[in-house]
Amino acid sequence: MSTSGKGPVGVEFVDLHRHFGTVRGLDGLSLAIEPGELVCLLGPSGCGKTTALRIVAGLDHPTSGEVLVGGKDVTGVPTNKRDMGMVFQAYSLFPHLSAADNVAFGLKLRGLGARERRKRAYEMLELVGLSVHADRYPHQLSGGQQQRVALARALAFQPSVLLLDEPLSALDAKVRVQLRDEIRRVQLEVGTTTLFVTHDQEEALAISDRVGVMNAGRLEQLAAPAELYSSPASQFVAEFVGLTNRVPAQARDGRAIVLGDQEVPALAGSVAGDGLALIRPEAIAVEPDEQGTATVTQLSFRGPITQVHCELGGSELLVQMASAEAQQLTLGGRVRLVIAPAPVLVVPA
């Protein structure tokens, strides 16, 4: 089912700056979202991701730079003329309207007749699995249901672009995962170009075509989730996305020597000479060995995986391994650490 008769369009940020007094909320953000793509902007609080989204929506205005939608500059276009659906963090449904009337609100503004509006609203509620609650008011719906209605409302008028501003942050963990998958399913079904803002890396990695990691108003890296995780372009990305060990290393000629004598490829952007290799916990294997140089200091069972803390030369390393394999380890036991031959980023010590 495609809700958009207009076809998906691309969105482009061109050198966006947004200054709040002396604070640079956005500092030269440039980014292109392909038609029909779902891109997440991920970053810590205050990194500028919500500011960027609000500028796309027209709810905020850049100090300089442009926003292009379908190749057209919309920077000066008022919000109500931008043809964008938006889902907010929470509490954005109109409390005096039923779920169906909320969904039909945008259609009413576009002059659709009552019967057509009602039909369309039910279709959209069906899409998010809430048609049975069409006549309920927001205060009669759970938080997750309200966000589903908000999603249906944002898509009902077939917007060019869908904007989601941390739509899951006010929900509990279980509902968050369910709705996260629901949003992706619906987005793939309707094919609307989507910009999703979140500070939750798991959320971003799970549903995006590409993830843009932001820091201090700038885009650190824009890449597919797997690439972002395995080949971070900067220390910030490596440390913000996923868990990372900082291991002393020597880098030269595209190779890095870590843990004494183990050699692995070094990612582009690595420093030469002495530095710290950023290594994922699952890229390290732990083998029981009486002659090993590391000691197991903590075992933390997490269901299918176990987190193993090892002490090596005065520093601590975190390892993640299958729980079945971790059973052979004992607290205080000597172990040997083996680094997987995957590329690592080496940063200044």
Partner: protein
Amino acid sequence: MRRTRSLVPLVGVLPFLAYLAVFLLIPTVVVIVGAFTENGTFDLGNIRALSNSATVDALRNSVVLSGSTALIGGVLGALLATVIASAPERSLLRRAVLALSGSLAQTGGVSLAFAWMATIGGTGTLTVLLQKALSVDIYGSGWLYTLHGLILVYCYFQIPLMVIVFLPAVDGLRAQWREAAETLGASRLQYLTQVAGPLLLPAFLGSLLLLFANAFAAYATAAALVSQGSPILPLMIRAALTSEIVLGQQHLAYAIALEMIVVVALVMTAYALLLRRSSRWMR
């Protein structure tokens, strides 16, 4: 043990319950009983007297006074509340208007009546000033001491009262509702008429009812301004209790008071219903 614990909060509110009993419940019972008795026996004469032309006129005047000041105060107060709601929480404008409103809403009685008399009464400062400077007579035939004058003077405390009771509703409008409406394609006017207006309507109507009840039961200001005749119900009660011309009308006063209690009770019930509706929305 559990029973004892559940009674503890009740002990805490006992003084308040006692206060309600002494100053609300007992007087209400006394009024009801008094309205239906005469010389210690059941009598409907005083209730029937409520249909006398003088009492009906007083009721009509009270309703006109309360209704018009509720409407004028409500509209102007709501506009003022909307203006200060757009100011930052800690802004000087907001704090000043709120502080002033809190004070003016409680201003009434002789001091308020005197302030108006001293300003636009027969020898009021402004009256004299305008008379001398522009030969304009704003005093006229003494309209300040009629129903029209009461309407003007009552607005003095009705407007700030509206600001105080309506501001929380305006503050309760979430920015996300406006932004959501805009992203859905609504203009400013469409947001006002289709989102903000319907959301504020119950609170606005409820506030009007509260203002109505406030004016309907007000006595001291009217008593200080109007010394001749009894154009409104509270002054008619005064006349029934203190008149030296027609004696023994204490039970008619009870009947009029009962009439006022019924009107205020109806108004406050409607107010509570409207408030419940809007508070559910604004939660």
